[in-house]
Symmetry: C2
Subunit: 202 residues, 2 copies
DNA sequence: ACCTGAACACCGTTCAAGT
DNA sequence: ACCTGAACACCGTTCAAGT
């Protein structure tokens, strides 16, 4: 009934890891459980990946790989940034605990390059020096990750621990906070050309 | 040599947990190791706390409890917000993995109340409707948490895995990105009075 | 009230050995 | 090249029982 021979490689293991993540969440995504899903001993995984962190990095790459290159060629800068930011958030929301997985591996690749590049593209016409632009892109990405992690944790907390009769309507309020945050960034960008002269007050 | 009798309560356990966190980091802060530090069996901890999550929530409360009420009564709104944001970041940086601990428990208390209130105080004079103000405060806090978590992970990654001769000068660039992010929020706030009419373009 | 002892059902990782 | 088997050093949590 079951095939023998090579069976798995890095890609197929990552496939199953990603779908297992979505089913059970990051806390229950163990090497042993993943091995069981693949009909393999836990030690077999260490032929394909050096350790769990490397596996999770591959999973994270799959998630950020599904961010669309350019979400829309909208006319004004503000809505272009908003649409880009939303498409990144939605890619993270597409898998359970997606934001946390990406965040935890973002520390290694110095700068979560792909996502940052897409944001930089979205603010290309802003009157910013290149180095300031990359700072702005980093800040926007950090907001997106912080926001989405909190949202996914609340989704998880709400699903198996109905704290106090709360009907958990935070999906609406969350996307309101998200849009507000991005709008504030947008509004601030044109004013931040004069950002280098007035240096830190403390 | 060692005392007998009651020995510990919620407070003293939290004390030791906090200092152990700072010494070994969140991944190595286990119930068993904490128990060893307290000269007690692991099961003893479950008389004081229902589970590990509840213990970590107490630790998180201690960390946010050390955010100063009002960092400074500066004249202009922009520097007041910047100083407040920095004082929150610095409280998180005061303990190893402080941001992650606070973030992971922030999901339960719907709204990390104390920190959000302090931010709301700092933008009290901005021309914003109360509900918009609280959205802005949430967004700022989510940026602070996202930024600080990434920074602390990089500090940890750099300390025991010198990736490629990089002299890890990201302390400077991080605080530059942080200041940029907060400055953008500040600059955007006065312009976001007209934020409710133009509703989402998608 | 506060803690021990022992157990249950798990972890990530290593390494010799198989095919 | 890819995987098994067995082991090592851990986890969080429960629960009867002690004092």
């Amino acid at each position: 009934m079951a095939a023998r021979n090579p069976r798995h490689d890095r890609e197929s293991v990552t496939d199953v890891a990603l779908s297992l993540l979505d089913q059970v969440g990051l806390p229950d995504l163990s090497m042993r459980r993943l091995a069981a899903e693949l009909d393999v001993q836990p030690s077999a995984l260490y032929w394909h990946f050096a350790n769990k962190q490397e596996l999770l990095a591959a999973v994270a790459d799959r998630i950020v790989g599904q961010i669309p290159q350019r979400s829309a060629d909208s006319s004004d800068a503000a809505t272009r940034l908003l649409l880009t930011a939303r498409s990144i958030r939605d890619a993270l929301l597409a898998y359970r605990d997606g934001a946390e997985v990406v965040q935890s591996t973002a520390a290694l690749r110095l700068g979560a390059t792909r996502a940052t590049e897409i944001i930089q593209d979205a603010i290309l016409d802003a009157p910013l020096a290149p180095d300031v632009r990359s700072d702005v892109a980093d800040a926007v990405l950090q907001f997106i990750l912080g926001h989405t992690m909190l949202l996914q944790q609340r989704m998880h907390a709400a699903s198996h621990g109905a704290d106090a009769g709360d009907e958990s309507p935070f999906a609406d309020s969350s996307s309101r906070v998200f849009d507000t945050g991005i709008a504030l960034f947008s509004a601030g960008i044109p004013l931040s050309a004069a950002l280098r002269s007035a240096q830190s007050p403390a």
